[in-house]
Symmetry: C2
Subunit: 178 residues, 2 copies
DNA sequence: TTGAAATTATATCAGTTCGATATATACTCG
DNA sequence: CGAGTATATATCGAACTGATATAATTTCAA
């Protein structure tokens, strides 16, 4: 599943412009999948070429032209095909955890700050997700929201319970040979 | 932090070939960061050009030439610089969760199978991580191993407790207008 | 009220990375 | 004896990110 497929998916929920699709990515798929304009706009052009979406152009006087995309019958068929396939493995990259892999090279104060910042960040994400959960309409949206809440909370708990393992090692000056 | 930087980091733990660096990515950073040969080999060439690593070539008779890379003093300095910077946000992409976002388009049986497969996959990952935890040497390795265990377990718990929300909706035929 | 910041809107581009493929040899195990 | 796995390097097209460009409008606080 690539970004092109997911644009198709978003269009099954209603017509939208590229800009609106980007917003939907952030609002509803932010936890799961990220997409930039640099991939969305070319994706929509390609989908149009392939006849999986159609495009109506509205020339606005006050703003740049707005292009509203609609999914076609063929597009719906292709999207259904895509989600019926076994999903590929998650792709995950964390610079935070990668940095901790080398915490033996860092001063204790830097490690503590790193973990403090991370906990603050996750707490803030929980807060805004919590608000989302109140307003989101469908069961599916809530399912994913609560999933995010659970994961972020588990991370905070783990860091609070185990940060001493990395911090103690740093304070003792137990440095590996470099 | 890019793959080039992380290759440098792996070389702070000892000299290695490109092939061995790939294995280290899988064994010790598998949870955190993925890198393919297609990015590692070009990265090592570039690092050599920049003088951040040095390369000795061993022509073996039985196998292709082996190139052993060592980090230079300049390389160590650059790596330290990189890990002292604030880490960028995590990058995460889950086809599994993206598919669930559209579970209202799927038959109930497919949703159940999807979730069953996911739980099995996470259980299997827990098993192999658990073995790792016994053998891994440093506190840091164990810290990251246990982090993974905690996250995977939280995911299984969440899915088992909440899967009925998606499955019930599918069985009832509560389908949104398409 | 004015000026800065955020929002609406599309588009491109260089650089990074993935996943597949190519090429060879050797070992292991049923 | 053959299939599969491990060692070993390398390239390439396609996908994707993050930055940048352009331009008008709305919002909100000083």
């Amino acid at each position: 599943m690539d970004i092109r497929t997911l644009c198709l998916g978003i269009l099954t929920m209603g017509d939208a412009s590229g800009y609106e699709i980007k917003k939907t990515f952030e609002d509803r798929l932010g936890l799961i999948f990220h997409a930039s304009f640099g991939s969305i706009y070319p994706a929509l052009n390609k989908l149009t070429d392939e006849g999986l979406v159609s495009c109506r152009e509205f020339s606005q006087e006050k703003r740049p032209d707005k292009k509203i995309y609609s999914i076609t019958a063929n597009g719906r068929y292709q999207f259904f095909d895509a989600i019926m396939k076994k999903p590929a493995a998650d792709r995950f990259r964390s610079e935070f955890l990668a940095t901790l892999m080398f915490s033996h090279l860092l001063p204790a104060s830097v490690i503590s700050e790193l973990i403090d910042d991370r906990i603050k960040d996750r707490a803030q994400k929980i807060e805004s997700l919590y608000d989302d959960c109140q307003t989101k309409m469908t069961d599916r949206d809530r399912f994913l929201c609560n999933f995010g809440l659970k994961m972020y909370q588990a991370e905070i708990d783990y860091l609070q319970e185990n940060r001493h393992l990395l911090e103690a090692d740093a304070l003792m000056g137990n440095r590996a040979a470099e």
